[in-house]
Subunit: 474 residues, 2 copies
């Protein structure tokens, strides 16, 4: 029997999509990748995922896992492979509040986990724009980051255990709830961030934290970017490590924001060089109780600290959110990044990570290089500054491939020289394969290939992603 | 040239030890393993480590890395292999306070890193008894834990980057300072905890945190063990997550303590069933400033919370440390664990991890099993309760191997049934190879073997450790 009828007999006709029914899965949401899968299989259980993988392996057909389809690197693109959607593995199996864990399947949407945790007074501390569509399987497979990494770490730091279907259809049960376990190699973290090239994650044990009882949010104009790191450390010291977000929006960001979303306003028209959005969150009642004069101790703490920093000359201006409406307005300026970033074409985007104290150096060095390569090109910069993650986009006007490459090479040259990474939180997928070939330590690439070969000798799990071919050169 | 002269010519005569000069390295500190290494090589740089590994590989001689030699599982035992000591790789290469990182070599003693961080007002938050001898290489290779895991995680969570000499002598440079990096598989975490079976860690980038400005410490008698988890969550909620240690010492511990170290005193003679040592630490000035009446807000917070818990009936009695002397006296009772544990022979020790809410179940189930297998056997229990890590020791009187095995099997049966691990923080080494064979998911073992084969095809890196032979059966 050929693969599609075999799958239909395994999963039921309605769970094997072909032809136009595959439209929703075959293209990525940004519209950059339009693939032609053989079919989309939608297994409803771990056992069905295993059986699907086995069937595909028997037919020599590659399997490409897909969940919320909110990725940015083309990691689910395929010509002729079988898309395996985890969307029906959508149960929150269990929440154990006393142990602060949630046991979830890989098709659970991130915001559903947020909601479920909230009913127990808990929080799943991973927060990014696509939270209403992204699913746990993709979140784990890309080791997703976002705005709270500064305090809670990336997805890897939030996962205690995994269930994985291996390329040969065996189920690897690593569903540990343990906070300490030194029984052999760390397989869990190998599958997290592997973008489906080593196996398919079907379920996970995730950590929860106490839900913040209070937030204190401010927008401020720092004197300079190097000062911003001092600011962050001063805020952390004053608050005892309560900073949850520390987002950087410089002059190029404000210029674009003003043009595309004038309704959102510019916080400090006279001081646009280094706007910072900072948010503290507290779980202790001592910091989260309303005081008689209407403010919270946490807000007072933020205000006092900012006043001191202004006196010390590190801050030029600052506004504190006095209501949830004001807080939302501050976040709206930051969350407009995707919209205002994509408003001009062509766009050369990047997702780079730098050592915390080298972000300024990068910006200082890239400016003259760009002036040389693409004179007059607009840039838009926005950063999770607290963890060194910069989204730096260039708008050269001219859409030629040669120019695109020159810009990317210039960015990567400086990033590599500063000990940074060309991929901070989006992963590699297809779009950064060339960067992997160019920039990754060749010894590390060799090891990764050896591991891929050992776990997926038939190269059937999301082939052609993450690892560039051995002979790739630039 | 045979290996030893070749090594002497590479490293200098004084850095290749043989015969009686190897005594310090050839046996473990507990005196359980006495090996006969071919020699002890003490390279002084990463390049010399690489050259040593290459030389040994050319001679087909296994290499066994050793650093502080404080391990508990026989992981550095060898008959005929080359011990490679990292003790001369002892530089703290750099501390960057603004970025909160330390770049250290693998021969740096843990307490030296503590001291160096302290001069910058920072803390390296890994704390355990052997800190004055243990070195970073071993700390990383065993993913060491200790008392602060609850708040800061194990070693893996504290490491940003690694430098590793691979089995073929190539140097893998993963010395990242980045907090986000999604460029391919997570190789770093594969080498952490691999106990030297995949390569030799020569240097690392470690995270630092702000040094606590104040501690508040108490000893309390909880009503029951299940109540203790409620206590922990209440203390975390009240303090906003400031609990750094939550250590459990039940009646069997107190009985042994009273017998072996009567000078240390028993905190609550009438309530011995569930003694807890709790410590909060604060970095924020608001919680760490001395108040006019002589106490700290953090101590007040602890006192108020404990008073509330006592009123709610969860606590039977409590004492708060009012001075550093009182704090030290509380910790002395907990840190006497190694001494009082080893004071009776023969001892069957264990290092198990359990889901946080299943520690009580374990103790309830093991008691009747032990009464059956080893009637009258004394036990000593002590736990890092905040992370589910239990050191449960049995003293059966009779030292026969058969009885030893029956006790270990009984413990492991229950641990496995409850979703726990037979090795929480000490690793596998030699002493838990049988447990790996018996208890580890066979699919996971297969994968680990495939990875070992892919990275060390000649099986020359610490062979025979961590992974039991394929045909091992119990």
């Amino acid at each position: 029997m050929s693969l599609i009828p075999a799958l239909k007999s395994l999963l039921g006709d309605s769970h094997v999509l072909t032809g136009p029914d595959m439209a929703r899965h075959a293209s990525d949401w940004m519209g950059n990748y339009h693939g032609t899968p053989l079919a989309v299989a939608r297994p409803g259980s771990t056992a069905e995922v295993a059986a699907t993988v086995k069937l595909a392996a028997e037919h020599g057909i590659p399997v490409i896992p897909i969940s919320g389809n909110t990725g940015l690197t083309g990691a689910t693109y395929t010509e002729g492979g079988l898309l395996l959607s985890t969307e029906r593995l959508n149960r929150i199996r269990e929440i154990r509040p006393a142990s602060r864990i949630a046991i979830v399947e890989s098709g659970v949407i991130l915001s559903r986990l947020h909601d479920a945790a909230e009913t127990h007074g808990l929080y799943f501390p991973l927060w990014f724009g696509a939270r209403g569509s992204a699913m746990i399987g993709g979140v784990l497979s890309t080791n997703a980051g976002g705005s709270n990494v500064l305090r809670y770490g990336s997805t890897r730091a939030l996962c205690l255990g995994l269930e994985v279907v291996l390329p040969d259809g065996r189920v690897l049960n690593l569903m540990s709830e343990l906070h300490k376990d030194n029984s052999g190699y760390d397989l869990k973290d190998l599958f997290i961030g592997a973008e489906g090239t080593l196996g398919i994650i079907t379920a996970a044990v995730m950590k929860l934290v106490p839900a913040p009882r209070a937030h204190a949010t401010a927008t401020l104009a720092a004197r300079s970017l190097p000062d911003a790191l001092t600011l962050l450390n001063r805020l952390q010291a004053a608050s005892g490590g309560l900073v949850e977000a520390f987002e950087y929006m410089p002059a190029d960001y404000m210029a674009r924001l003003e043009r595309i979303r004038p309704d959102l306003g510019i916080p400090f028209p006279a001081h646009r060089d280094c706007t910072i959005l900072v948010e503290l969150a507290a779980t202790s009642p001592a910091l989260a109780t309303e005081t008689p004069h209407g403010t919270l101790p946490l807000t007072d703490l933020l205000e006092e600290t900012l006043a001191q920093l202004m006196q010390d000359g590190l801050i030029l201006d600052a506004t504190i959110a006095r209501s949830t409406t004001q807080r939302a307005a501050m976040w709206a300026r930051r969350e407009a990044a995707a919209e205002i970033g994509a408003a001009v074409k062509p766009m050369i985007d990047s997702d780079i990570a730098l050592p915390l104290d080298r972000v300024e150096t990068f910006l200082t060095r890239i400016a003259p290089r760009l002036a040389d390569i693409a004179p007059g090109a607009e840039t838009v910069t926005v950063a999770h500054l607290g963890d060194g993650n910069l989204h730096f986009s260039v708008y050269p006007g001219d859409p030629s491939r040669a120019l695109y490459d020159r810009v990317i090479h210039a960015i990567e040259d400086i990033v590599q020289d500063l000990g940074g990474s060309f991929s901070a939180e989006h992963g590699v997928g297809l779009s950064k394969l060339n960067s992997m070939a160019r920039r990754k330590d060749p010894v590390a690439l060799d090891l990764m290939r050896a591991i891929k070969q050992a776990i997926d000798p038939g190269n059937l799990m999301n082939p052609g992603k993450v690892l560039p071919p051995k002979d790739a050169s630039e």
